[in-house]
Symmetry: D2
């Protein structure tokens, strides 16, 4: 059995995460051929060669176009800086490769649309690296909803908070410049929206407010006005009438990796906080009155595909494991099997939602999110 | 030393709570004269007499106007249904009595204004029963803010959730009728606003959405449309530029007494959930990097006036204890001392805020909250 | 309806707590006559008179024997220092009074036996102030066990930790002297044993170890060896074969009021930590595999007698409320009704258990606890 | 740079975990050569060949002795059933290989001693798979202790609980037979002891009790008496005078992967529960009185080697990641660098401790643990 040929562009934070996943996916799941790690691309040949040796790839290159064109490469992992996503993805798809591109999809709605169009034209697998939807805990929440255990969803709250922009003493940097994007909304809020996309009805209307908790930062020539928005708050209306709230803050002291969900239905509730990645809180209104309470569900073999990692419950999965699950889903998709992934169509929905929120903030009004697909 | 004369109108949920507080306040604090529990009013003479015996009051009456007029009565505790608040408070103030009235202040902005006017005209103590601001844990949060430990406040989130309206099988009742008020917003959201009023800068702008999680309920003659809104979501802008969110839901399965705060400043953070009434989570950004984390602060003697109840830390206070602290503050106010209370002026601010939120929902727009006092 | 006549000896920490309970019990429960607060005793007449005024008692005295002899007094609350318990309780019982005595029962096993004998001879109510067993959360645990929801109990762990003796800089004091007792074991460990006495089978065998975390403290004339044991650890064997552990530490930095229970049966489990006085964690092994987890049960009206304090769930009770429940149980006992209390018989069992543990430590061996009652 | 040659014996639960670690270690740490995965051994050639393909090994064999003898193999990962550990480890060491053997070390003290002797004689790296000591959270605890932040350690409690033996309906199986070992003590209690071995002073004295929560189970021919002990409780005395408790229960309903530590010193405290693998609770007694509390420290880049996995704090590590860290330590040891590992000497200490506990239970007495090394 000959494994799929993998090319990897970029070996930073998420590129390394892709590499680890490609190294682990077959050993973890046990029923797919080990991928052949054909080539990786980095910014210099020396770096590429060194990283290839360490990450288990056969070759390295400083030219991603060569990687994309290589006949041994069947699928391209794109983990280069966001502004390159469009070019790389479109080129790869046009070359007949499958594409697994890191989030966010692109740095403009136009780019995202071009990527979606290329995906449609190619007929190839074109998916985004929204790893959090792969968490067995998140899948469990989806299952509880699908089985009707929460009843009809009525109200959802999503929070995503970290503190890497919280320190006023941090000097003015790339993330403070408008060329880096909108701010919390597109930088990491798309993760929150990816969870909504698999757990909630479509978002139909939004009103959004954004702010600059640290209005200015020390630049090379004195204080400089921050251009992006580290904080965003949003009211949401979902198809079917449920209401919701979204809060994003990358200047929230003490929050390190919080993605908190609160989902209320007319029969039960679920809450979750990703800082405790293996726990779900579940309330069943049908429990007897004196024994009702949120249950702390610890991820385990009862929650697929946990058992592929550890056979014992309560023996936690970690952040990198989610990427291994995602890699398996990508392999499924390539093999024509059902896969739990956010493809370029669904990814464009997320980008559309982000754009609507930004417009709401700019204009101070509620904004309808047109149903792109029906249009 | 002759204690102050107390009259109590209403002995239900909060009326009983007032009675317990009046019985306990001197014994708890040890440095004020025991109030004389002169008279209580109930809906019948028999009930009034029986309750007086049980609650330690000298006499009972079925006529609250007699109670208000009684020369032995110095202060009137009003715990009658909300629609009566205005008449009782105004009459008592005009009779020269101090007034301690349960929240919400009134059932219309006009009534609240009339009460405020009567308070101004009387020169008497006229305060509202916002007991949660008395919690030593909340006072601690206020102290941390006042001492600058959080730095400049940048972002605040407030949630208040219970589930007493969550069951779709609960028949149509008083709380479902528009004559009971707006819904979550005025029924219990005012508690959340009371906390903001002591912890945050004034709210300047809001955009609000409300919904009916249970659209209809079983009435006497078949299903009936619910008229009030069990859920409300709000974006907040505070004076000085901080942003915030407010979420209210009285149909949130599994939430029993949740009032959750998240307050982020540029030097630290605080969170709190009233279901754990004696705990504050505090993050200090100045802690060394490897030892940074939210500290679970358990209320104790270091957090006044905890020690007046129990000399040992970690030996919890309860809901009823907060009213005893409030009674002490009322006695302070009557004695002309500084007191931590929400008077009719501040109470009207809360009602104004509620009205603005309702208007925002009705019109689908951001609404400015005019500064009533400067106007 | 004429209420019972109460005399109170001592108005310190627990004496004040008794006074608050006597003031609140009728108003809280609503179906018993208000006790008449006849007299209190303190160490001087001036103090007694002042405290009587504040605490709502008619009179004060500096002679507890006069209080005990007073014909108006039906029941005596004993909250004087432990060495006085025996004399006061025996004298009161011999005078035909009911006795509600604070824990620990006495400072020697002989004294406790004398008290038990006096109780037997008198036919009066003679009970101890083990307030924690009154907590609705603890009663809920008892109910879950009684209903068989945990199945057969197999293993129990109890921890009681505070940090009032943790600071090495605290000078040598009364609690460091052997005349104050054994240390953690009798000072506060009896609370832990009181919980076992209502939740677990009798303890049959123990092996105990004690230590002095702070071996010496600053005295008036230099460093002085600590004589008591701030820490104790015990292995327990219960009737029927269940095993257990007890850990006591009054020098445990960061613990403020921890009494932690872990109770494992062959069908489920319960855990509890008194620093969160209103919460029980309950695991039901019959929940489906993918939805199993500890449920956080928040005390509420489903857990009597919570609703007598607050009608709303999740609106916490506090430490002082437990004493009010206890006062109600005392009134029940006096009225000849069933009452959940630790009487002098059961209290002697606790003291016997403590003595066995101390003996085990001294001799370094397992010690059987003879069944006193069958003997 | 030519990587070390690895042979793996056994590909079950922990064997797969070793394989994943060997695949990931170089990519994760980035500064060591990728190991060459030379050969694995399984119970049949077919299985071995299939697993080799999946796990990334060059070859498979059904004869572990061939693997051990292979000149390409530098280090042998032993993850075969416990009774084989001795033979495999001794043979490998005698063949001049380094050995990384899964816990528990052996099934008898004599076997463990033989392994230790072989290790001494060989001069090779001979270490055990105690992965939990590699957790950055556990390393952080060790660092806090080493830096003196807890002061002098006074009291330690360790609990290890799971529920895989909790169901009385589970039929009689291997773990119920005495040939499988003692029970909780040697089956999983050694993990708890491994943590003590890196965090606490040596254990000097123990008294132990063991029990059979499920006394009999359904066998092939009716009910059969369980021979092992699913539960163990122990009192501990450490060198220097600190006291402690150990509780082990593999029939503890609701516990899935709990390894709970409570470590009290005279300046601070630490607690930890492995079901939340990335969290440490730390109490610093020097914090100001009103801001004292356990800090929830979330593992992150400030806690090496977390950043080698994820550069962002609060983005959890998982169970399998700990083995990757361990693999790195093994490579360090092989390279003659300092390594944080439990070698066969320290492993024998753990086995000696287990044996002493079993003897204490059998004889009902305190047992001294002779200092093997000084002897």
């Amino acid at each position: 059995m000959r494994g799929i040929g993998v090319g990897l562009i970029g070996t930073g934070y998420m590129g390394k995460c892709h590499a680890l996943a490609w190294n682990a996916v077959a050993a973890t799941f046990g029923d797919v051929a080990r991928p052949r790690l054909v080539m990786l691309a980095e910014t210099s040949q020396a770096l590429a060669t060194a990283r290839a040796a360490i990450l288990g790839f056969d070759r390295g290159t400083d030219d991603w176009r060569r990687l994309v064109a290589d006949p041994e490469v069947d699928i391209v992992s794109i983990a280069a800086p966001n502004p390159f996503h469009r070019d790389m993805a479109v080129t790869a798809l046009e070359a007949g490769k499958h594409v697994w591109c890191e989030k966010p999809m692109a740095t403009s709605l136009a780019d995202a649309e071009a990527m979606r169009d290329a995906a449609r034209a190619s007929g190839r697998v074109a998916v985004l690296g929204y790893n959090y939807i792969q968490n067995p805990a998140i899948r469990l929440i989806g299952k509880l909803i699908a089985e009707g255990r929460l009843g009809r969803l009525q109200h959802l709250r999503v929070e995503m908070d970290e503190d890497f922009m919280a320190d006023p003493a941090t000097p003015f940097g790339f993330r403070d410049q408008s060329l880096s994007g909108i701010g919390a909304l597109d930088d990491f809020g798309v993760h929150a929206l990816s969870l909504l996309s698999v757990l909630a009805p479509p978002v139909e209307r939004v009103v959004c407010d954004m702010s600059r908790p640290i209005p200015q930062r020390e630049g090379d020539d004195g204080m400089r006005a921050v251009e992006t928005h580290d904080s965003a708050t949003v009211l949401l209306r979902f198809a079917g009438g449920a209401t919701g709230q979204l809060a994003l803050n990358r200047a929230a002291w003490g929050r390190k990796g919080r993605i908190a969900l609160q989902i209320f239905g007319n029969a039960g509730s679920v809450t979750y906080d990703q800082e405790r990645l293996n726990e779900v809180q579940y309330f069943d209104s049908r429990d007897p009155a004196d024994r009702q309470g949120f249950r702390t569900l610890l991820a385990g073999p009862a929650h697929p595909p946990f058992a592929n990692f550890v056979p014992a419950p309560g023996h936690s999965l970690g952040f990198n494991d989610l990427k291994v699950i995602e890699a398996r889903e990508v392999l499924n998709a390539v093999a024509g099997k059902p896969a739990r992934l956010i493809d370029f169509e669904a990814g464009l929905d997320i980008e559309t939602c982000v754009a609507a929120m930004a417009r709401s903030h700019a204009n101070g009004v509620w904004v309808d999110i047109a149903d792109r697909r029906r249009a």
